[in-house]
Structures are given as C-alpha cells and as structure tokens.
Amino acid sequence: MLPEAVGQNPQVVALAEEIPGAIVDATVAVDGLVLGVSPKHIESVCRYLKEKEGFARLSAVTGVDWWPREPRFEVIYFLHSLARNARLRLSVRVAEGESLDSVCSVWRGANWYEREVFDLFGIEFRNHPNLERILMPSDWEGYPLRKDYPIHGHKYSYQEE
C-alpha cells in the first residue's frame, strides 16, 4: 500500500511495482516530493531512478540527527534530472550502529558526500571504496554533527577542568 502523498504519481507507482517494499513513506515538502526509502533497498532504488527515470546527477548526500527520537538518523539523497529538470529527495531512516549500502557504484560522486556523512555523523556505508574521515583530522574522536556532541567539542570542555 503506497502512502497517500504519492497519489497518482506514475513514476513513483512504477518504482513501487518494480521494487516492492522499497517505499515506506512519502511527504510533500515546500519544494517537492520526499520519498522515504527502506534502508535495505536504497542502492537498488537509486540505480532504478538513475537508469529508468533519468536522474543522472546526485546533487548531494547529507544526514540529520533526530536524537533522542528513534530511529536516530536520517540520510538524505538529493537527486537531479537534467533531462526532465526535476529534483527528488530520498530519505532513509537509520538507527545508531546500523550501516547503509553505498551508492558509489551508481554515482561515483557519492564518494565524498558519503565520507562526509560518515565523518560528521558516524554512519557507515557498506562497499564504499574509501570510507575515511574527510573534513576532520583522521585521528579525531567523536562525530561533531551529532546532537549529543557539544558545540565547543569534547577536548576543550571547561566544566571538566
């Protein structure tokens, strides 16, 4: 059963038929449709959207920490189709410690964006060619964009002195 917000959107209906169980949620944001995708289907959904629906570009990948809500993290993929001049957002909810399939095999450009999400949120991506910290130093402890990470960092906490 598809979420109500999808309505009669033929592309989404076709996607749901092609990969059953992939779409778990859909909302309409001020700038368009947001599809909630189940974590285990993200790679196949992305491949389908790139090859069948013409989303040739991955604009960016990022994360949101919804702590203390569960599941804690949301990973968001911003897709862009030049041919149709359309944009689409995919959202995947991930619990702490859970890992996701990398979409680097679909778009090579996902490489740095997934590294950034790993670096700042600590979400791991399976089959990523080079999952290392990218913005923070390689020996950094903790994940700065998590909500329980203090704004001034752990190392410079004055309260503990």
């Binding site: 001020v30 991955l58 604009s59 960016a60 090579r108 913005l135």
Partner: protein, 421 residues
C-alpha cells in the same frame, strides 16, 4: 616552482628507498626496476591552491600518475554553529562560507528560510538582490581571472582585475558599510535601505567594467602563451563530470546547459533577459571563455536592473521577522515589542524542510534547511559548488604534466572556505 616537502620513494617493495634528489640531478636507478615514482605534496601552503588545499601527487617524471586532494584544513564547523543560533543570526555565517560570493550565500539561505515562512518579497528587494548578486559574480570572476592568469604567468591582468574588483567592493560598502562580509541580504528583504545616489555609482562602475572585460579578454585570448597553456588541457568525459558533481561554468564549458537561474527561477530572474554561455571544447580555455561571457551577461543583467528598478518597499511586510525601523521604535510601542521579541526569542519557523538551489559564481549552491518549529534551525546543510567541483580534480589530473596541473586547478576556481565549510 613546487614548494613543500618532497621525497622520492620506490613503490616497489623489493627496493629500498632511493636516494632523494630534488635538485634535478641524476638519481641512481637500481638494475631491474623499470618504474621510479615520486610522491609530491603540493600544498597545504602553495600559491596556486588558492587557500589551504593539499594535493598528494604521484609522479612518473613530470607526469602525474594519480592525484589525491586532501581537504578539511579550513573546516570551521559552520553547519554545527547554525544549530545553536537563531535564524537571523545565521546570515553572517553564510558570508564566511564562500567569501568571494557572500551575497549569493546570503541569498540562498534567506530564500530557504523565506520559503519555510512563506514570505512574499517585494519586487524592489528582489531586483536589488539580483543586481547585487550579479555584481558579486563579476567580482568573483575577476578574482578568478586575475589569479588564474597569474598562476600561468601573465602578471599584468592580475593588477587590472583587482583594480576593477575594488570598484565593485566600494559599491558593496556604499550599500552595507562592509566591503566583503556584507550580510546585506536578510531574511525578508534587505538589511538597509539602498543608499542615496546608488544608481549613478553602479552605472559608472558597470560602464567601466563593460570596457574592461573586453580589454582583458583580448589581452589573454590574443596571447599565444596563454592559448598554448590552456587549449586542450584538463578535459574529462562529460558523463563522468556530471556524476562527480561538477557544476557551474565548468560543466557549461563541457556543453551541458545547466544554470539554476534558468532551470528553477528564483528572485525574479525570469524577468531578466540574458543568455547562458555554453562551450563544447571542455578544456581550460573553454572555461575561461565561458566565464568571460558570463561577466558580459552579468553586465547586461545589471544594466536591466538599473533601467527597470521597481519602486516600493525594500522589505517584506512581516513585522514578526524583520527588525523595525529605529525611528519608529522610539514612538511606537508595537515596534518596540517586536524588536524586543525578535532579539530575545527570535521568530519560530514552521516545521518542515527545504532544499533551495541558486547559481553561485562557482556553480550549483544549495542550502538544505530543516526546521523543527522553533526559532533555531534543526539542521542546515550547505551543498557548496566547490566541494563537488573539487571532487573531479583527482580524475582530471591523471596523466597530465605537473605544470598543467596549475592551469587545471586555476580553471576550477574553487574557494577552500566553500569546500571545507
């Protein structure tokens, strides 16, 4: 030419580390080894990296076998800082992301929040925003042109470009009181009323620029050294560039018609008549050509803005979002209350999220703002053009000469503050 630590090392485990000789004298090559590779750190402090970028090059003679950009030296956690600030306090942070295109960043963030607030922006503010953003584009491209030419060895252009850019910065100072970190575009409109006599000042500068751009184009395009150094250098297959996230003038020089000002019009760009320059050669020279043409188009847009600037208010009618007029605060109780509430509590933004795309001088700039219904953003993510463009550097430098890598990096026009955020 190359600064930084250099050392010679053999990747072949059978051989010990070879004699390091960076002065160019002969290096003893053990019998039987065919490959002698050198790893060279370009940067983090190197004039041609325009910021703090480190590129780890693996060389065979003068040919680059592989290049690995190392970023993060300018990471300041701006996205984290957004989360503890009120919405209106985020504007000065956006200035400091891409410090050569601060007004485009102001605009993108303001548009995102305005869409969540569903604010209606009056035409005068919109046209003023367009005009200032195009002046920023010219100023940013002038910096790129000057430094790019300087890297390749044409020194004169550098001084001309910085001279002209100073004139644009004087305009920004006239509008906002600041040359670079203007924070002039605010949520709901502009920060201040446009100053008296701005039309004369802008038209004087824009006429001077229109002549100048032709001169600098001529200065370089008729220079055989410049042409030889840039033609046929630094190309990649278009599909790969698209996949790697390359946007802006770089992708337009590869024949892809992609410009957010045309594709998803915002801030009444649809009311302006301008062309998106496209080249298909996909080399350093084509990128130079595209950016020069873009400057001409920006001059065209500014002229239209000067001729047809609408009258009316320069701020939205939203007293709960915009700070009231100082004079009115002294006489009207409501203004004083609104001022107090905005400064102490901020304004709540309805729950939701938005991905707002604008065209910065470097390419597709987007802000993803998530609101949880409070006066502070839950999350702000910046999709910066330099980050996507820089990701293609490794692929672009494979197989080129070291000297050409300077030309390739210059043609990317990245800002490291924009990459590392």
């Amino acid at each position: 030419m190359i600064e930084g630590k250099t050392h010679v090392e053999s990747l072949d485990a059978r051989h010990e580390l070879q004699v390091a000789d960076v002065s160019g004298l002969a290096v003893e090559v053990p019998p039987g080894s065919s490959v002698r590779r050198m790893t060279l750190n370009m940067g983090p402090q190197h004039p041609s990296t325009h910021g703090v970028l480190r590129v780890v090059l693996e060389l065979d003679g003068e040919t680059i076998l592989s290049a690995r950009p190392e970023i993060g030296y300018l990471h300041t956690g701006i996205e984290k800082q957004f989360e503890v600030k009120k919405y209106q306090q985020g504007i000065p942070l956006t200035d400091r992301v891409d410090y050569l295109a601060n007004l485009n960043n102001n605009l993108c963030y303001s548009l995102a929040v305005e869409r969540l607030l569903q604010l209606e922006i009056p035409p005068k503010a919109q046209w003023m925003r367009v005009m200032l953003c195009e002046l920023t584009r010219i100023a940013s491209h002038l910096i790129w042109l000057g430094t790019h030419a300087l890297d390749i060895g044409a020194m004169t252009v550098y001084f001309y470009c910085f001279r002209e850019r100073e004139e644009i910065l004087k305009i920004f100072e006239m509008f906002s009181g600041q040359r670079m970190m203007t924070s002039y575009i605010r949520i709901g409109g502009l920060a201040l009323e446009p100053p008296r006599g701005w039309q004369t000042a802008v038209s004087k500068v824009i006429e001077r620029l229109a002549r100048g751009i032709e001169e600098y184009h001529e200065l370089l395009s008729s220079n055989p050294i410049w042409v030889n150094r840039t033609k046929g250098v630094g190309s990649l297959p278009v599909d790969l560039m698209l996949e790697l996230g390359v946007t802006g003038p770089m992708i337009r020089a590869a024949g892809v018609n992609m410009d957010s000002r045309k594709d998803c019009p915002h801030t009444s760009y649809e009311k302006f008549d301008f062309d998106v320059p496209i080249r298909t050669e996909n080399d350093v020279y084509a990128r130079f050509d595209v950016r020069m043409e873009e400057m001409r188009q920006s001059v065209r847009i500014v002229r239209q803005a000067l001729a047809g600037m609408p009258s009316g208010p320069w701020q939205a009618d939203a007293p709960h979002v915009l700070l009231p007029d100082r004079e009115r605060m002294k006489t009207q109780m409501e203004s004083l209350i609104y001022h107090f509430k905005i400064v102490t509590e901020g304004f709540p933004v309805p729950e939701g999220s938005v991905y707002q795309v604008v065209e910065s001088p470097r390419g597709e700039l987007a802000y993803y703002v998530v609101s949880d219904g409070t006066a502070r953003p839950h999350r702000v993510f910046m999709r910066t053009p330099s980050f996507g463009n820089l990701q293609s550097l490794g692929a672009m430098l494979e197989g080129v000469l070291i000297a050409d890598s300077i030309a390739v990096m210059g043609s990317m026009d990245f800002v490291l503050g924009d990459v590392d955020r």
